[in-house]
C-alpha cells in the first residue's frame, strides 16, 4: 500500500545520502584528533540509521526499520564506550 512515487523518492534520497556520508567519512579519515573521529563515527551511524529507514521505503520491506532500531541501540553503547576510553586515557592514572 506504499504509493509507487514514494519508492522512487526514497531511491533518489538514498543516492543523495552519499554526500553527507562522504563528508563525515572525510572527517573520520582526516580529523586531527581522537575526539573528532568519535564525533564523525557518531554522525556516520546516524547516517546509517537514515540509510536503513530509506531502504525500507525503497524496497518496500518494513523489516529494514528493525535494522534502524538496532543501529540506533548500538550507536549509544558505542559512543558511551568511546567516551569512557577517551576519559580514562585523558584523565590521570
Amino acid at each position: 500500500m506504499i504509493h509507487p512515487i514514494v519508492g522512487t523518492a526514497a531511491t533518489v534520497l538514498l543516492a543523495l545520502l552519499a554526500v553527507p556520508f562522504g563528508l563525515a567519512a572525510y572527517r573520520m579519515i582526516a580529523g586531527p584528533g581522537y575526539a573528532d573521529r568519535f564525533v564523525a563515527l557518531d554522525m556516520l551511524t546516524s547516517i546509517a540509521v537514515v540509510c536503513a529507514a530509506l531502504t525500507a521505503l525503497a524496497t518496500g520491506r518494513a523489516e529494514y526499520l528493525d535494522i534502524a532500531l538496532v543501529i540506533a541501540l548500538i550507536n549509544f553503547v558505542a559512543t558511551c564506550a568511546f567516551a569512557a576510553f577517551l576519559e580514562r586515557k585523558g584523565g590521570r592514572r
Partner: protein, 126 residues
C-alpha cells in the same frame, strides 16, 4: 496520496538536516563545534526521516518506528554529553576560546590532546 506527500516532505526535511549536520562536521574547526552540529542536526534529521518512513508506509510498523524515535531522542543527548565531557577532560583543542573557561577547576583537563600525548609517550619509551 496525502500520506505519500506528507511522508516525502518529512523525508526531504530530514535529509536537509542531515546535510547541514554533515557540512558542520566537515567544516567546523574543532571537535566541540563539530559535535554541536552532528548531535542536534543529525538527531533531528534521523528522527524526521523515520517519522517520514512511518507516515509513508501508512504506519506499517508503528512500534518499531516509535521505539526508534524515542530511543534516539533519549540517548543522543546523553551520548553527546558524555563524549563532550570526555573530550574536554582529554584536552581536545578548543578553537579561539573568547573570555574565560567556565569549566576550569570543575573538571580535570589535560594540557595537550590525547594524540599529542601518546606520540610523546612513545618517543619517551624508545
Amino acid at each position: 496520496m496525502i500520506t505519500a506527500t506528507v511522508g516525502i516532505a518529512l523525508l526531504a526535511a530530514g535529509l536537509v538536516f542531515i546535510f547541514l549536520a554533515a557540512f558542520g562536521v566537515a567544516r567546523f574547526p574543532d571537535a566541540f563545534q563539530r559535535m554541536h552540529a552532528s548531535t542536534k542536526a543529525g538527531g533531528i534529521g534521523a528522527t524526521l526521516v523515520i517519522l517520514g518512513v512511518l507516515v509513508a508506509t501508512g504506519f506499517a510498523r508503528p512500534l518499531t518506528g516509535i521505539l526508534t524515535i524515542g530511543f534516539m531522542l533519549l540517548t543522543l543527548s546523553v551520548a553527546s554529553q558524555l563524549l563532550a565531557r570526555a573530550a574536554y577532560m582529554s584536552g581536545a583543542t578548543i578553537h579561539e576560546l573568547n573570555g574565560r573557561d567556565d569549566l576550569l577547576g570543575v573538571l580535570d583537563r589535560e594540557k595537550a590532546p590525547l594524540e599529542e600525548r601518546s606520540v610523546s609517550a612513545e618517543s619517551d619509551r624508545s
